[in-house]
């Protein structure tokens, strides 16, 4: 009686299980539990976890906060669009705006310092993708997402958008500078 026919014995649920199956089920189950526990373990002992901190807000409020930061800490402007490059003090709140099709402003951070990085979209969904570190975060409109980040080494990093956001999605790219502490 094969799998395309009704089970041979009416009371099939009382048939004994093959030893090979039970062995595999036990091994697989132990592995599954291990994988499950690995996630809380990393929250306690690992260094790369996402915060649970996020707030509902509006584009106006968020833009005002970002603008205040830009007004205070801009050190130069780059490209024809005169995008400000901002160097906020270590430990401070850093705001990054995602909008069609631009990241604004550009950031310059110090290696080894921690920052509270705020992410929010002004319009559609965007994807914060820091390269070549390969840190990827979803950016929503209406939700201010706060991550504490600690750049480890100096260099020029790219922020690309990796959530499809319309016809010019592939042009949405920016820089993030990390400099050594002076």
């Amino acid at each position: 009686m094969s799998a395309i026919q009704p089970p041979e014995h009416r009371i099939w649920w009382k048939e004994p299980i093959e030893p090979i199956e039970i062995t595999w089920i036990v091994i697989a189950f132990v592995w599954c539990i291990f994988m499950f526990l690995m996630m809380p373990y990393w929250h306690v002992f690992g260094k790369q976890n996402l915060a649970n901190e996020a707030y509902r807000t509006t584009p106006e409020v968020y833009t005002a906060k970002a603008q205040a930061m830009v007004d205070k800490f801009t050190i130069r402007e780059e490209t024809d669009q005169k995008i400000p490059v901002v160097k906020p003090p270590a430990g401070s709140d850093v705001y990054l705006i995602a909008r069609l099709w631009q990241w604004w402003p550009m950031l310059e951070l110090e290696a080894g310092q921690t920052y509270r990085l705020h992410l929010m979209s002004m319009d559609w969904l965007h994807g914060f993708s820091l390269q070549p570190e390969n840190i990827n975060i979803q950016v929503h409109p209406g939700y201010e997402h706060i991550l504490t980040v600690q750049p480890t080494k100096a260099g020029t990093f790219s922020i690309i958008c990796n959530e499809y956001c319309g016809i010019n999605h592939h042009t949405m790219v920016s820089r993030l500078y990390v400099v050594d502490k002076k």
Binding site: A3, I4, E8, I33, M35, Q131, I135, L147
Partner: protein
């Protein structure tokens, strides 16, 4: 109105085939293949655009074609085929009449209409919103309308399936419990009902929003509910293609499940836990707590993963036992070496099993781990993963069963048998390449759904390492090979169905069944065959070795990813 109770007996399998069910299976399978053709043409264009050296399409066309490719493949091809599978697993395997064939035709009509309307919206050019259509990015109202009509049709078809089970039970066309394959199909259908309900909850408001009757769709709410639809629909595929694995093991080898209890419980775990699927698309989203993410993404402690690992053992295990009974007992793997590798029904099924397990399964668990998702989310690793599950796993299994369905249901001989013999290999090889190299490029940060990773002309351009470009080129070559494999499939199938040699059956019977009862079961109630369940011996050692190889790769790759994660910037 009289109920059509005409059956024919299949000379190949001895199954009783209800005529309206047969016609409906044909219609749904043909519709599926037509959408596969459309999706396949679009696939070639996507592949040739992402290969930066060729970069075939301009951006607007690329995003349009990518949207159409996703919808035609993931929704229309797969679900039409699944409806055919549901009708087969109910009416034909149970030897009973299909409940309400007219309703089933109406469902078919709705689905065709939905598919056509949705494609119309995409090809208008103002609905390039991808398969996921994340609000607040909006599409033309007909985009959502098409999907809704299609979903309603599919839901009606699921209820025809459930009704057929009731008919079979009432008219006593089978003894005891339903077959394992039908049980798997029930699993798929139950998940489908959940999936379609989730789809309705999100797509109906979005449709109303697109015509201006609702003024705001929250993006996080959309993603949460949409994925209860979007991912669960992939779980229908899993349940369906695993049922097909069992069916093919039974058809080709006469294999029976190692134990009914284990296999059925594993299907039950799918019903209980797969619906938590929306979580693992939201692991790097704001507004959801880690506790929620950990519990849901692990499908409540990986119980659904456990179920897949169980099927991954019991299907080849059943084949091994059947082969050993035929005398292929030498060493650990004679049963596998001497398997009918030139029969596309078997070779397609076995490569589907390997590809789904080793490539799709392992990568899926990795990227569905809360923290590991940070280094994978929205990179091209993601399509690499799901081309292994949905294409190598589901589509290849569907292709394999087609080579059985053509002679059994369409009553035609396979045209170009040599091509059919090679087709699963070409397709699987191409798709394996595509998946592996997409995953590799994703590890290097290459984004998915992106027209130009060279950022040509952009003053802030990011430069991906040369390896990433090389991997994208290799993935494209794999993609082209897979398109060749897909074309071979279409040639064989279309030629066989329309121009293939008819199979004439000596002593062909149409069975007229008296009103009220379908044919009585011909099988003796007490089967003479000796079951192998309960033997204390180590019945499938080769399969167990394969399972341990699988586990070892799984564990190694799991820790490689944690190691990689530990080197990126600290975040909290």
């Amino acid at each position: 109105m009289a109920i059509n109770r005409m059956f024919r007996t299949c000379p190949m399998t001895g199954l009783k085939v209800h005529e309206p069910a047969e016609a409906l299976i044909k219609a749904n399978a043909v519709a599926a293949v037509i959408f596969l053709l459309v999706g396949g043409i679009l696939a070639l264009m996507v592949t040739l655009t992402r290969w930066q050296v060729i970069h075939l399409l301009p951006p607007d066309w690329f995003y349009l074609v990518l949207t159409g490719h996703g919808l035609n493949m993931l929704v229309f091809w797969i679900i039409f085929f699944e409806i055919a599978v549901l009708y087969f697993a109910s009416s034909i395997l149970l030897g009973c009449r299909l409940a309400a064939p007219r309703v089933a035709w109406a469902a078919f009509g709705l689905m065709v209409m939905g598919g056509v309307i949705n494609n119309y919206a995409v090809f208008r050019g103002d609905s390039s919103v991808m398969f996921t259509s994340y609000a607040p990015m909006g599409a033309h109202p007909t985009f959502y309308l098409g999907l809704i009509l299609f979903a309603v049709g599919a839901l009606v078809a699921c209820f025809v399936f459930f009704g057929t089970l009731v008919v079979g039970k009432e008219e006593k066309t089978f003894n005891g419990s339903i077959p394992l394959v039908t049980f798997g199909a029930v699993t798929a259908a139950i998940i489908a009902v959940f999936t379609i309900a989730s789809g309705a909850i999100i797509l109906i408001p979005t449709f109303l929003w697109s015509v201006g009757l609702v003024d705001h769709i929250d993006s996080l709410m959309y993603r949460t509910v949409w994925w209860a639809f979007g991912h669960s629909s992939q779980q229908i595929n899993v349940a369906a293609h695993i049922s097909i694995w069992y069916a093919i093991a039974a058809i080709v080898f006469g294999a029976k499940a190692m134990s009914e209890r284990v296999s059925r419980t594993a299907f039950l775990l799918y019903i209980l836990f797969l619906q938590l699927a929306s979580a693992h698309h939201l692991l790097v989203d704001p507004g959801l707590t880690s506790n929620w993410k950990i519990f849901n993404t692990s499908y409540a402690m990986y119980l659904a993963v456990l179920a897949s690992m169980v099927h991954g053992l019991t299907v080849p295990g059943a084949i091994e036992i059947a082969q050993r009974k035929r005398g292929f007992t030498k060493g650990l793997f004679e049963w596998l070496r001497k398997a009918p590798w030139s029969n596309p029904v078997f070779s397609g099924m076995f490569m589907s099993l390997l590809g789904f397990g080793f490539l799709g399964g392992i990568s899926g668990v990795i990227m569905g781990t809360e923290q590991l998702n940070i280094i994978i989310h929205n990179t091209i690793y993601v399509p690499g993963h799901f081309h292994a599950t949905v294409v190598l796993g589901t589509t290849l299994a569907f292709m394999a069963i087609t080579y059985f369905v053509i002679p059994a249901i369409f009553r035609r001989e396979l045209s170009f048998p040599r091509m059919a013999q090679w087709q699963p290999y070409v397709f699987a090889l191409g798709m394996t390449f595509l998946s592996l190299f997409m995953m590799g490029a994703g590890t290097l940060g290459v984004p998915r759904r992106h027209w130009d990773i060279t950022f040509a002309g952009n003053p802030l351009a990011h430069e991906f390492p040369g390896t990433a470009h090389l991997m994208m080129a290799l993935a494209a070559i794999g993609g082209i090979l897979a398109v060749v494999g897909g074309t071979m499939y279409l040639l064989v199938v279309v030629h066989s169905v329309f121009l293939g040699k008819r199979i004439e059956t000596p002593g062909f019977q149409r069975v007229r069944v008296v009103d009220g009862y379908a044919p009585r079961p011909t099988r003796p109630a007490a089967a003479a065959l000796q079951g192998h369940g309960g033997t204390a011996s180590w019945s499938a050692p080769g399969t167990f070795v394969l399972a341990m190889v699988f586990l070892t790769s799984f564990v190694l790759y799991y820790f490689i990813n944690w190691k990689y994660l530990s080197t990126v910037w600290p975040l909290k």
